[in-house]
């Protein structure tokens, strides 16, 4: 897990922009990756990243150093990304109801048609993640992309170790089912 010195945090808390930029440089790719993998949308990931760092800047003075700064940033990132994702989902559902569109929007239609999605592994990962519930998604992203161990994930998400284990199990089962369906579809030319 990435982390940063107490001195840098204190400097940033007193308004030192160079120190705050150091925090941003250390955590921005982590935050953006978490945000993108949870929201599955580059625009939302950018908005989430901005929200998170503005929030972090405002809260730096309240940071008590009782836990690792990295844990705190991960937590803020996951919670903010899930909130933004859920908010967007609710707005979309409302729009669908208002429009009496009948069927729900296909999850794949939410994916932005930009270049990044066409990039091999990223596309594959994005495709796999779209079928997971946000809490499973955040767990698997923290484990597989961020490389956090069970204890660190439990600290970030404030859940027991057993819950981390069961969420990872369910997430991987869902990922395997999804892969099976994809390969079935490919086999029948769907």
């Amino acid at each position: 897990m990435r982390d940063i010195s107490k001195e840098t945090i204190e400097k940033a808390a007193s308004g030192d922009m160079a120190a705050f930029e150091e925090i941003y440089k250390t955590f921005s790719s982590t935050v953006y990756t978490i945000a993108f993998n949870i929201t599955r949308d580059h625009h939302d990931a950018e908005e989430t990243t901005q929200d998170i760092f503005v929030k972090v800047f405002g809260k730096l003075k309240d940071f008590k150093f009782e836990s690792a700064f990295g844990t705190w940033i991960y937590r803020v990132a996951v919670n903010t990304a899930i909130n933004i994702y859920n908010g967007r989902l609710r707005r979309r559902q409302k729009t669908v109801n208002l429009d009496e569109a009948g069927d729900m929007i296909d999850a794949s239609a939410e994916m932005p048609a930009d270049a990044l999605e066409r990039e091999g592994a990223k596309t594959e990962v994005a495709d796999m993640l779209k079928n997971l519930r946000p809490e499973h998604r955040s767990c698997i992203v923290l484990r597989e992309i961020e490389g956090l161990d069970y204890r660190e994930i439990a600290a970030v998400l404030r859940i027991p170790l057993n819950t981390v284990r069961s969420r990872l199990k369910r997430a991987r089962e869902a990922l395997m089912d999804h892969r099976k369906q994809i390969s079935k579809g490919a086999r029948y030319g769907l």
Partner: protein
């Protein structure tokens, strides 16, 4: 070993590197003898590989510019206790209206007291003058009226 239980271990502890010692040895022995579980483990490992290959993504440079702009507009609240003079400054900042009112009241009081002293001093001077004249009258015959030091007396 029960393959269903093995699958659960593959989905969690095995793929996440949490198996060790005797448990790991038993597990690997089962994998060596069970092609179904081996295939399952290989499939899960493939998913993990996809995630690792995807890796991190960096946000566009414009994101930092926007954050810096928003943050620069926010007032920075200095943390009490990080500067030893900060609590004193905070106290004076918060108590400023009270201190201004108290200073004004003190000034008015000082002016009133000074004015009263000056007016009282005038009255006393008149009385002192009368008493001096009385003293001079009473001591005029005894010649014990004090004219100061011998030198002062000489010149007077």
């Amino acid at each position: 070993m029960d393959c269903k239980k093995i699958e659960e271990v593959i989905l969690t502890d095995y793929v996440d590197g949490r198996l060790e010692g005797r448990a790991l040895k038993d597990f690997e022995a089962h994998l060596a003898s069970c092609s179904k579980c081996r295939a399952f483990a290989s499939e899960i490992a493939g998913i993990s590989t996809e995630f690792r290959k995807a890796g991190h993504m960096a946000p566009p440079a414009a994101v930092w510019e926007r954050i810096r702009t928003v943050v620069a507009e926010e007032p920075v609240e200095v943390i009490p206790g990080r500067n030893i003079f900060e609590p004193i400054r905070l106290f004076f900042d918060k108590a400023r209206p009270v201190l201004v009112a108290a200073t004004a009241a003190m000034l008015i009081l000082a002016v009133l007291i000074t004015a009263r002293i000056v007016s009282n001093r005038g009255a006393i001077s008149q009385e002192d003058e009368i008493f001096s004249m009385v003293d001079l009258g009473e001591n005029a015959n005894g010649f014990d009226y004090d004219l100061g030091t011998p030198a002062e007396s000489y010149f007077l």
